[in-house]
């Protein structure tokens, strides 16, 4: 549910208070670093570095170590993510069935590129993932937990259009 917070609410005092609740819940134990980071990421949708510095302070470990852990696991992101995270599967099956044109279509419509994966309005983030385990439905796209199978370029454009109009 926190996933649907509006961008301007991202780093308010409420989320920051939540960080402290999370830290307290784990008794400020450095061993719980990974679950702590997971929960904080749920609250902020990403891991802002200033919050990581705070977490390091509270847990009494070095900021370099905390940062290292966040970069080690691909589930963590230190970049803000959009409200809608579009995951296009680029596993073998999906690749063969045309995931590349899908990626290009999304990039084109949202003005994204290889280096710039999130739209400026923080609405969309594009990710390519390897095999979502739904090869029978290839090519597969997942948007915030909703799975779309056998997606064509037209269908992809349609989905984006729907989401965009819903936001206006």
């Amino acid at each position: 549910m926190t996933k649907n917070m509006a961008p301007e609410e991202l780093s308010t005092s409420r989320t920051f208070a939540q960080v402290n609740e999370i830290l307290d819940k784990h008794e400020r134990n450095p061993r719980s670093l990974i679950p702590i980071l997971q929960e904080i990421q749920d609250a902020y949708r990403y891991l802002p570095t200033e919050i990581l510095a705070y977490v390091a302070t509270v847990l009494g470990i070095s900021p370099a170590r905390v940062y290292g852990v966040t970069t080690f696991y691909s589930q963590f992101s230190t970049q803000p993510k959009g409200k809608y995270v579009i995951q296009v599967c680029d596993g073998t099956a999906c690749h063969v069935r045309g995931s590349n044109p899908l990626i290009e279509a999304v990039e084109k419509r949202l003005g994204l590129s290889e280096d710039n994966r999130t739209t400026d309005d923080l609405l969309f983030t594009l990710e390519t993932v390897s095999c979502l385990g739904a090869c029978g439905l290839a090519p597969v796209v997942v948007i915030n937990e909703t799975v779309y199978g056998e997606v064509s370029v037209d269908r992809m454009t349609e989905i984006l259009a729907e989401l965009q109009s819903g936001e206006e």
């Binding site: 308010t12 402290n20 200033e50 990581l52 705070y54 070095s62 370099a64 170590r65 940062y67």
Partner: protein, 670 residues
């Protein structure tokens, strides 16, 4: 206890915790990148592979010896594994060896030659990352890093700093400062120990030899050099001479050939430190201060205290380090004495230490736009300069230091060893408390390389409790123990580098495992051979006090020889925005120290009161990391004013100030 067979030869083992140590004891230098006996075992480089019957190929560094083990160290398979490992490292490495600072001293280069790696079958590295020169003492070239992690473990396990860390995984893994910031923007204390263990040219001393040559070539400058105690017993190593040989006389000769005008001895300033520091210590005791006094001659320790223990800063001796006392003495007293413009005197220190480079740049040590110490060169850099001009130290005739500042007592010379400062101070204090001259006694308790050396000394009715620590983790633990009351001491000597300055990171790379203790031993021998062994007996100090300073701790002495400290934020540029918008700024510090003083509770209280008064929109609250005002923590900044000691009880008062500010705003708009 037990016996293992290494290549058919039985070897007994005792305390050794891994097979690698036993193999090395047997005289076989199995190659390694990632093994250092003082650090935890990582086992990442695979160089130390051995074949053990029943176990197959395993890393010797991460295998405990067991009685009856049959170990082979260089079968065909093992040799192939090592070669391949080096080849793979080289494939992903910037191989511009000829222009690398580390060339000749690089472990990667050495092993490639030793193992006979003559070709690299995996192509060239195609990416290049920028070199990071933001740190005052260390140059970081990520293109040369082989990811052994030695620096990471050194910084975290021995120094308790943790400024460097691994990021990413697999082929994207890197070793970088926290948050991928530059090394000058994180809480690095410039001790250089990371660099001292780095096997490649990824971390090297930031070389400033060009600036030295420039100053020497400048006819308008009088170049004055001070040589720190620890340098003399290590510089010979760079010329193939044994560690511990005192080469001071030859070094003076070499510097003269380079064109240095005056060569003086930092040991003299160390004597000065002893007098000033003892005076301060006795005054603190007289004033009934219960907190121990910490020494302040190690700039890496000072910076560590500023980052991590702001609450202890008032317990740090206010004395400048010998290097800075020396600089100040030259630019103020000596300039006057020889009727020179202080800006025409160019002071170069030769130090075993990288942190001194950063220390010399501190704003406190620039006085009326005159920098006390213009340039700091490490022992390594001076050796490189001599080699560049073709001087072989061993072949020079010795030459004497210059007067008037070319003389230090044995006490001053000892400063280079861990425990040396304490011993020098003890000699002086013992006389002072006894009210008479006592014969010099050695204090073997403070010598040697245990991490923490506690000692009690009784003089008449007085007992002085001392603790000597080296390595910042030890310092950190000592502070915790003092705080919990587990240990009570009067004086704590801290050196950031294990072993003290003789083990400084600016010294030549140690050739052997006993190199550092050889240096320490050499320094104690030099000390014993001096005729005067108590700082107070230094005749030059007498003139300094008579003609310039007056008496110890006088206002003049305070101005020229003492300093102040400031708390520092650990990482630059991290702020937590708590409310959006462009309103009155209220910042609450949640940095380490303020956090421990309860700043988070203040913050939440403030937020909830603002909300209940409907002021949430008008005020922009931020959590910030450190205003560098930790002693007054928790700190809160309202508008542009910092409020100190804002405890929970003071939140209503803060609300008052905020309301004042807010009601003031419309008036200004009229």
């Amino acid at each position: 206890m037990g016996e293992i067979t290494i290549n058919g030869r039985p070897i007994t083992f005792e305390e050794e915790s891994n097979v690698l140590e036993v193999i090395r004891k047997a005289g076989i230098e199995l190659p390694t990148f990632c093994y250092h006996s003082e650090l935890s075992v990582y086992g990442g480089c695979r160089m130390c592979v051995v074949d053990i019957d029943g176990m197959g190929v395993v890393g010797a560094c991460s295998t405990a010896p067991r009685d009856g083990m049959m170990v082979r160290t260089h079968t065909r398979e093992l040799r192939d594994i090592r070669k391949l490992a080096v080849e793979l490292l080289l494939a992903d490495h910037d191989r511009e060896c000829t222009t690398c600072e580390k060339s000749g001293g690089c472990q990667l280069q050495r092993l490639a030659t030793q193992l006979g790696v003559h070709e690299i079958r995996f192509g060239e590295r195609d990416m290049s990352m920028p070199v990071d020169d933001s740190n005052a003492a260390i140059l970081r070239n990520p293109n040369k890093c082989i990811l052994c992690g030695d620096c990471v473990r050194m910084c975290e396990e021995v120094q308790e700093v943790g400024a460097l860390g691994f990021i990413n995984r697999g082929s994207n893994a890197m070793v970088v400062p926290a948050f991928e910031k530059e090394m000058g923007d994180v809480e690095c204390v410039n001790c250089g120990q990371c660099m001292a263990v780095c096997p490649t040219g990824a971390l090297v001393v930031k070389s400033e030899t060009d600036r030295a040559f420039e100053a020497l070539a400048d006819e308008n400058k009088t170049v004055i050099v001070q040589i720190a105690p620890a340098v003399r017993v290590a510089i010979g190593e760079a010329f193939g001479l044994p560690a511990g040989d005192n080469l001071l006389g030859k070094l003076v000769a070499a510097l003269k050939i380079l064109g240095v005008d005056k060569v003086f001895d930092t040991s003299l300033a160390a004597d000065l430190t002893v007098i000033e520091e003892t005076q301060e210590f006795l005054q603190r005791r007289q004033a009934g201060e219960s907190a121990p006094m910490f020494t302040s001659c190690c700039p890496a320790w000072v910076k560590f205290a500023e980052y991590r223990h702001p609450e202890m800063l008032s317990s740090l001796s206010s004395c400048r380090s010998p290097q800075q006392m020396f600089g100040s003495m030259i630019k103020r007293y000596y300039a006057d004495m020889i009727e020179a413009n202080p800006n025409d005197l160019y002071v170069i220190s030769i130090m075993p230490c990288t942190a001194k480079k950063a220390e010399a740049q501190r704003p406190e040590f620039v006085h009326n736009e005159v920098t006390d110490v213009d340039l700091v060169l490490t022992t390594q850099e001076v050796a490189a300069m001599l080699k560049e001009v073709g001087l072989d130290l061993g072949r020079l005739e010795v030459q004497a230091l210059d007067s008037p500042f070319g003389f230090g007592t044995g006490a001053g010379v000892m400063f280079g060893n861990s425990g040396g400062v304490s011993e020098a101070v003890l000699r002086h204090v013992a006389d002072h408390l006894a009210g008479e001259e006592k014969p010099v006694v050695d204090y073997p308790q403070v010598r040697g390389d245990q991490g923490i050396k506690p000692i009690r000394i009784s003089v008449g009715d007085n007992t002085i409790r001392l603790a000597v620590v080296h390595g910042l983790k030890q310092a950190h633990q000592m502070i915790e123990r003092i705080k919990t009351g587990e240990i009570t001491v009067d004086l704590v000597e801290v050196m950031a580098c294990p072993g003290g300055c003789t083990g400084g990171a600016g010294q030549p790379q140690p050739e052997r495992r006993d190199t550092k203790s050889q240096r320490a031993h050499g320094l104690y021998i030099s000390e014993k051979m001096t005729q005067l062994r108590k700082s107070r007996e230094n005749p030059i100090l007498q003139t300094l006090y008579d003609n310039w300073l007056g008496e110890p701790a006088s206002p003049t002495a305070h101005d020229a020889l003492h300093t102040t400290y400031q708390s520092r934020r650990r990482i630059l540029g991290e702020e937590i925005a708590l409310e959006p918008g462009e309103q009155l700024e209220v910042q609450v510090c949640v940095g380490t120290f303020c956090y421990l003083q309860g700043s988070y509770d203040v913050l939440s209280q403030l937020l909830s009161e603002l909300e209940s008064e409907g002021l949430g929109e008008a005020v922009n609250v931020r959590g910030t990391f450190c205003f560098e005002q930790c002693q007054g923590g928790p700190s809160v900044m309202i508008g542009d004013e910092i409020q100190a000691r804002v405890t929970l009880e003071r939140v209503p008062e803060m609300m008052e100030t905020i309301r004042d500010h807010l009601s003031g705003t419309p008036k200004r708009l009229d």
